[in-house]
Symmetry: C3
Subunit: 135 residues, 3 copies
Amino acid sequence: MAMGTISITTSCTMQLVDITSLVQKAIGSQDISEGVCYLFNPHTTAGLTINEGADPAVKDDILAGLLKIVPLQLAYKHLEGNSPAHIMASLMGAALTVFISNKTVMLGTWQKIFFCEFDGPRSRNIHWRIIPANL
Amino acid sequence: MAMGTISITTSCTMQLVDITSLVQKAIGSQDISEGVCYLFNPHTTAGLTINEGADPAVKDDILAGLLKIVPLQLAYKHLEGNSPAHIMASLMGAALTVFISNKTVMLGTWQKIFFCEFDGPRSRNIHWRIIPANL
Amino acid sequence: MAMGTISITTSCTMQLVDITSLVQKAIGSQDISEGVCYLFNPHTTAGLTINEGADPAVKDDILAGLLKIVPLQLAYKHLEGNSPAHIMASLMGAALTVFISNKTVMLGTWQKIFFCEFDGPRSRNIHWRIIPANL
């Protein structure tokens, strides 16, 4: 099982960062043709999702949608003021599993892997682990 | 690691399709008693979820709920007009991990695995990979 | 592949139960330094999520947020009356994958693993499976 960490820096309060090439770089660093790659986000105001990357408008629309879905002005108890970011984190999820095929992350035609920043800008990490198919 | 693809055709714009028997067929095609099965949806306007399958009303209610949760008439930038479907896809998630016990997909009493169509009808695929327990 | 089940009893209709120490106990019962731990919730009105555990207000805020996000009074078809709980279950998800590092569940500084009860109080189970890194 290979393992490592991807580091990124976000630049806005809310941002979907396409990390596909960074995940591919991690996969490419291993001599594994077929396998499974696990991604884990260790932050509580961020998440991971897979969605369309071809048209950058889609990630803007996902963020706009989340801002309508999650109540921003509720009588939240958490005094840090970022409870909507925590809720968005749980809606997107902290973990993802993707497949490796022919040494490449196996995504659909329009899919990209996104790190979801909900309380930035910050320095963020994504941990990864890979198991090869020929176990 | 065994691997393959399940193909389905959806018949409505929004539809939860019970794919449990197709996942079970994939598992049954392998001589694996215990293990883990990963499912991956390569589409950006669809997702995967596990919920009640005993009463078919539950899947109707999940779709009705999502239509209330996700704003349908926001000033979306993505010109294809299906941004709500992309948002629903991220809310449900693209990947699922289930357990195999006694050659059978190990679900709770009421659980079924659903492919979530949010922009159909279309032909859709779900990729699967299986690792046996006795590695 | 080691496997087992964590049993808990919830005490409210809606409740986020920190199960991190129970997951750690399962991991600690195995002689595995590095690996991957899969968690699976077999219930259809409950889910699993990872979020902040340091300030207990965050879990209250997540539940308050979900009660605003999910429509409570829609004309639901499922006669049991708990369709909002089913929808919350799909929003949180039934499965989680976490990493094991140095015999310990590898979480971010503020992260805890939560069982999400949406239709309690009930007796609930969470199944787990672990694969070691040195396969």
